[in-house]
Symmetry: C2
Subunit: 399 residues, 2 copies
Amino acid sequence: MSVTAARGFTASGVSAGIKDSGAPDLALVVNRGPSYAAAAVFTSNRVQAAPVRWSRRVIGDGALAAVVLNSGGANACTGPAGEDDARAMAERTARALRVEAEQVAVCSTGLIGVPLPMDRVTAGIDAAAAELSEDGGEAAAIAIKTTDSVHKTAVASGSGPDSGPRSGSGPGPGPGWTVGGMAKGAGMLAPGLATMLVVLTTDADVSAPTLDSALRQAVRTTFDRVDSDGCMSTNDTVLLLASGASGVRPDPAEFAEAVHGVCLDLALRLVADAEGASKEIEVRVVGAASEQDAVTVGRSIARNNLLKCALHGEDPNWGRVLSAIGTTSAVFDPDRLDVSINGVRVCRDGAAGEPRDKVDLSGRAVTVTVDLRSGDASATIWTNDLTAAYVHENSAYSS
Amino acid sequence: MSVTAARGFTASGVSAGIKDSGAPDLALVVNRGPSYAAAAVFTSNRVQAAPVRWSRRVIGDGALAAVVLNSGGANACTGPAGEDDARAMAERTARALRVEAEQVAVCSTGLIGVPLPMDRVTAGIDAAAAELSEDGGEAAAIAIKTTDSVHKTAVASGSGPDSGPRSGSGPGPGPGWTVGGMAKGAGMLAPGLATMLVVLTTDADVSAPTLDSALRQAVRTTFDRVDSDGCMSTNDTVLLLASGASGVRPDPAEFAEAVHGVCLDLALRLVADAEGASKEIEVRVVGAASEQDAVTVGRSIARNNLLKCALHGEDPNWGRVLSAIGTTSAVFDPDRLDVSINGVRVCRDGAAGEPRDKVDLSGRAVTVTVDLRSGDASATIWTNDLTAAYVHENSAYSS
């Protein structure tokens, strides 16, 4: 159901010919109102693509009428001409939809440093505008894929205080309000074309500041904690648009929970689709002195190539976990660290605990739990193993 | 010539049976004086192996009579029993050599979290003590190998102000003074057993503070700038022992230059022997506002898995270089970044420069030069590509 699960939105996806393969590569998501509130989170990479610079500018007033997205080219590191191209995409979309260019966000994903074929892009925008429909969410989700093996969508809905939000990708809106979304990004683990693009929509009647708060909270503990290979894109964008078409003004906490649910669902789909990966690894850090410490330790473990190789080889090598923890400045005593892998406490008090051969790593899901025994804060980071297939995907093609 | 190139040192390497393979796994390096000045640099990992804790303690007085080293087991994360084992290794060595245990440094490398087979280790120490000789440097260098495909030694010598230090691994000491050394560590790129151990010796008559200063200076711009996979060992140790046997008190600057030369030689041998790697990559950052900025940017590039895969695939993907630069807080303007790969300026002013197909990446040596255009500081980081062989070596064996 994707971005058209919520009432008040139309979408489409077409093949514009940006990709040589002829696969769909251009999508539109349009907010039909009555409200146009919007919020966004962008990459924190200081090298930012032209569409990110454009979108960051136009989201300033907390309103958007549409999003135009393309795969097949990132329009990053393309100089002043790239800036012109991003603006031209917004302008062409605005003309087709009879809105202002400043109401249109732009997202691009693909190879860095190569100009977009603008004649094809503009023709594609016109074609996509002609195909907009209330069922177009799937087509849009498909058109933003790069190395993704599947398109990714999620939906949650709520009706009021008596029924909390339901997460899932099942059928559409109930009588209340809905949050739906689509994402692309083969994690960061198949990132020949690494960018993560996410568009969320809701028919709830929510102000821009409330949207912004819900989105930032949700992103902080979902997309920001998926760390497949530590590489940060120049184009990452998460957008949330609200049409108000349900006429329901939800409880802010319930709404925030629904947004979080959709973000978490999509984030885990990114990890699950990390091509080249054979394991989905949840790194759970508990007993931390602060959440920041827990995140720092979790990220250090999730980025440790040696551990990621070991888990690929189904070796519960807890020494590599300790080695990764030791590179951080988090509060801990090296002689009081505990590590469990898939529930077996292989390291206790910084030394060997239960026998390694009790650990079953034959499945796809791996949980590494670290107890820093220094407080009661915790955090989870999701990552993947490091495989020869990852190397192949990121070395065999110019991408 | 290794650690016995300098006069006043004996060494040996034996098979103690710590490794199942029966390969040499225990080495001694003994300073016969007349001076016993020494300096050391240890891993900055906060999880430190028992031998590191021991050696850090005994180096406090700036003097060492011997070093005992073993491969086949890291004695890291082994709890209080591991501390006892490290001390027992020093004590056994001290008894065999008729010195004090506090004059003996201990270095171990191998799997983390597994106790050493101390009966074999102590018998090995006695055997190694019986085989000490002035020609034992090669045997010692061989006995500290883990996944290293070759053993690594280097020598530099100086005689006075009229002849600067000569670097190389050629024949032994001249009439003046000599610095020699051995290293193990298949970079950090084949680090099933990741530790880097280095022992340097000199017959120059140099005080402990001068040794310390020369060693820290040298390590800072050599071993500290080899960054094959961003993983930091619990056991890394670099030792420098001075016998004074040449009777020559060298100019401190000339001595420091010789130490630097030997360290750089050994560091580049580590990169060259990074098993699984097919490229040796020099990341040179120029035009930085500070050396720290240059190091930060260089390290971010050297640790970028996507770039390392691209270079493995001989793809001059400068977009991944910019993406890595953008994650740092160094001073730069994204629109004024220049990147050259093997001498071709593929990125100028943050956008495409010369055509990618002008870049020849068919050879083993790759140079990535980044000009931040923000100052005149510079730094070089050495790394390797990321290959399927790396994944295999670090996943196929429990190591």
